[in-house]
Subunit: 294 residues, 4 copies
């Protein structure tokens, strides 16, 4: 395997590479700024299930401290059979999500999977998510780059940091500098199990920060698939220096339509926020923040 | 991790699962049949570089025993910068490939990456390849399923057999039964190196044959990225029971526009074919075959 | 792969398994107690290089907050050729280490590799380390169990939690209940690189705490092999809930005889201790502690 | 990760490295020669269960074509509790094994785990096996080197080729040139499952043959843990160019005391030998061979 070398950088990663140690990008999403000294919490359900559900969650996570609202309307599913009609509300879900964000005053982020739907999804979102499975879907990257909107680029579970930065380079080369990286667990050696399906690569946070000026978040929910590990991994992500976390939150986690094993209920989320505020103080991050970070 | 269980099969994989030990699908591509007792060799350059190049290769690999011609016109590239104008000839490359197949009398297989281009690629090919990076690009799978054409579905290097069969299930559910699987190496533990970048999962061949009626090939070129290992891995694939191999062949391998470290020259390819014929006899496969396998 | 199930526990892990959620073992090493609500810092050089070196380090890490002193006298080396005479001081190094611990008032932990040398190493140490490579050296485990001394059992980089607990079970079955686990990085998918050679499996901390009553530490130095990642990973280990960390500290890290890329100098170690104290408050751990933890 | 470079070779692997392409070591075990153009089959039960059992197996595998007899008397067990008294016959098993080899006229290979027992095991064996878990048990390597006897050095499932050759270098440096490598599966990415617990790294065969003059075998039984995959992987090992295979054979495989899921019965072993003879002809190996290989 070729590691990232200065030569590689010159050839392949001119736009995502850091110029110097102080070079850090801040990505503004609505009224919130991701990166620099801010610590960002993005929270919400894995899937938008109904208008009532997403509006209620938006108000609650906002009150508890979240900075952005997440919710899936289009979902990549390993098997083509849906076990429930609320798995994917698609366009309907997008409208509910947009309404929830507006009512609660939270910018919203949601996934787009098809280059033919980018415009439609973009019209309902403040930030577009490229899911792990589409990290190297190059036509999709090019279509999303054209929107100029903030992008949350998840790392594919089978891809290296170098591959990931290559995907980010497509977005920047396409004219879109508003890219935020998000680690969500990588293929684990089988010996990692039964801890969980993937292993969260927390070391990639300092590794990425050496290479690139882009902010980097961690998703403790999809990287562990297990409720009991979500708060510990989120705390560890904050302690290791990540720019934020993306957490599945659901009012009745055991009954979530998608991934019911991993969502946090409100009380667990509230405790987590309190811990994250404490760790932010230790690592020099600001939890309450707005468009003008230091 | 959930292993594949009968329950999973009922839920997620009804169409790709075997009914019984004798249940084996044959996929006809032009006048060639993939599967059952046939052993299939697909050969050609990683990238179509010019009309002259691909026509010459087609004639030569046909004469040496290949059953299908491969060649890339659209290439997924990790970084957005092309080092050469012959990396991706796109529509032009498709026309050359089609012409080469017709002149040599070989069905052609080529990759499609964008759902908006499926129709155009399909008009120049006898079989559509879904590349590893797009294995879980579900809108693309649905668009390819609609063509009804034979599909070569490569395994993502970060995906399990279960994920792979889930992707195949999308194709079958979309009305397309003509699916051939192709292993091309998976994410390796770092201890596998420096043998090569990926590790070819040859055990997945008998594992897949227990689960599914679909044929399964092995790509020894992209799974090793190293010329010296290509023929040994191709022989091993034949010996372990694969339905065929997909091999990069180039008249001047060191000067190939893409992946110059892995292509075989004609003399190496000729020796490999001779060895494969020998191993086919041991494992009960027919190398020379047509539309009517036993 | 078989996961740990209640049946496995009954068969293979009766002594290391938790009876209930409150079941937690405290391991006393000299006057320090590892486990329960204590957070333990073990610090010192990878290799004992001279009497002066180890005595000085002992005094300094003690003053900065460390609870135990580490230092290698016998080292497992991948290749049989020593590049330096101070790589392994063996018996001489043991005497220096013992003296340093006594002078500074710190209990000492050091590695033993050979069942024939257990008695000799035990006479100079307060805690015996089973290195990663010997985690499944069963004759060694049996010989160490017989001493009854506290044991630091490192996880082999190729072994699962189940294998690891099996090794701990050998120690407990041999009559020695004083076992502390220590994660030090596992075989990584190649895609984890170039972040570092191994990937630290922080999720194993909550996973182990669900299964066993034994304390669990993390070694951020050997799991990352890279100075810049040591403090971030140590902070993350504390935040995820580990019972402590084992950190390489050296007065002139770049000149360390063994593993010069990973040791912390005193200023970095001091900053780390300060951060760990802060995170301990958030996660409810006591940093200053003695034989009587709450 | 550092790959093997010429510099590494000079520093760490002077004795195991090849001088030139023709440099190949032959290791004589009793009257059989392993390496060069010979293909070697080592067969026998995972564990010696009784005198009658091992004597019968020895005669049968000899008649079917095996060149050496294997059988375990000391077994490394993940958990300290034996489910059966025939798991480990220890000294008793060694005597039975020696007798079986003498009666059938087959050299025998068996594992040694404890440096204190090397002499005793050596007195009953023609070749000593270092098991995977002890590959980096350096005191054991040094003790085995001193015997000068042929050594079968299995690769640890968590170790790289470089680590493995480092362990072989210990043996050669200790004065013992009679070393045969044996691949037995490595830690797999979880996505390899459910194919089996480990993944057999067949690519390591050509990779090792580039680096070292030592012969290399493959163990298809312990690398797959699954009877149905043993013969396919053994055929693949032969096709890829290995110097032989090490196969678990048992008269009643389902009732084997250890690893009952992986042993072959006599009919399966007979068919496998027939296939291996066929593949040997294709790859230029001699199956029938004696002390004087070409």
């Amino acid at each position: 395997m070729k590691d990232i070398s200065p030569g590689d950088l010159e050839k392949g990663l001119p736009l995502v590479s850091k110029r110097d140690a102080a070079h850090k990008t801040v990505v503004n999403v609505g009224t919130h700024a991701i990166g620099r000294s801010n610590f960002t919490v993005i929270a919400g359900p894995c899937a938008v299930e109904s208008q009532g559900q997403i509006v209620e969650i938006a108000h609650r996570v906002k009150a508890l401290g979240a900075h952005l609202l997440r919710g899936g309307a289009f979902k990549p599913l390993t098997f083509p059979y849906r076990s429930s009609s609320v798995f994917e509300l698609r366009e309907e879900g997008l409208r509910y999500l947009k309404k929830a964000g507006e009512e609660a005053g939270l910018p919203v982020v949601t996934e787009v999977m098809d280059p033919r739907l980018v415009e439609r999804v973009a019209s309902c979102a403040d930030m577009l998510q490229i899911g792990a499975r589409n990290m190297q879907n190059f036509p999709l990257l090019e279509a999303v780059a054209e929107t100029g909107m903030p992008v949350l680029l998840k790392r594919h579970f089978g891809c290296s940091l170098r591959d990931w930065l290559g995907a980010a380079e497509y977005l920047l080369k396409g004219g879109n500098p508003n890219v935020v990286l998000c680690e969500r667990g990588i293929v684990a050696p089988h010996t990692h199990q039964p801890a969980s399906r993937f292993i969260v690569d927390l070391q990639v946070v300092p590794a990425a920060q050496e290479m690139t000026h882009l902010p980097i978040l961690v998703d403790p929910s999809h990287s562990t698939f297990r409720r009991a590990y979500v708060a510990p991994v989120a705390r560890a992500a904050c302690a290791i220096g990540a720019d934020g976390v993306l957490v599945d939150v659901h009012p009745a986690p055991e009954q979530a339509a998608v991934d019911p094993l991993q969502a946090l209920g409100y009380p667990d989320f509230e405790r987590l926020i309190q811990d994250l505020r404490g760790i932010c103080k230790v690592v020099g991050r600001e939890f309450e923040s707005s468009l003008a970070p230091r």
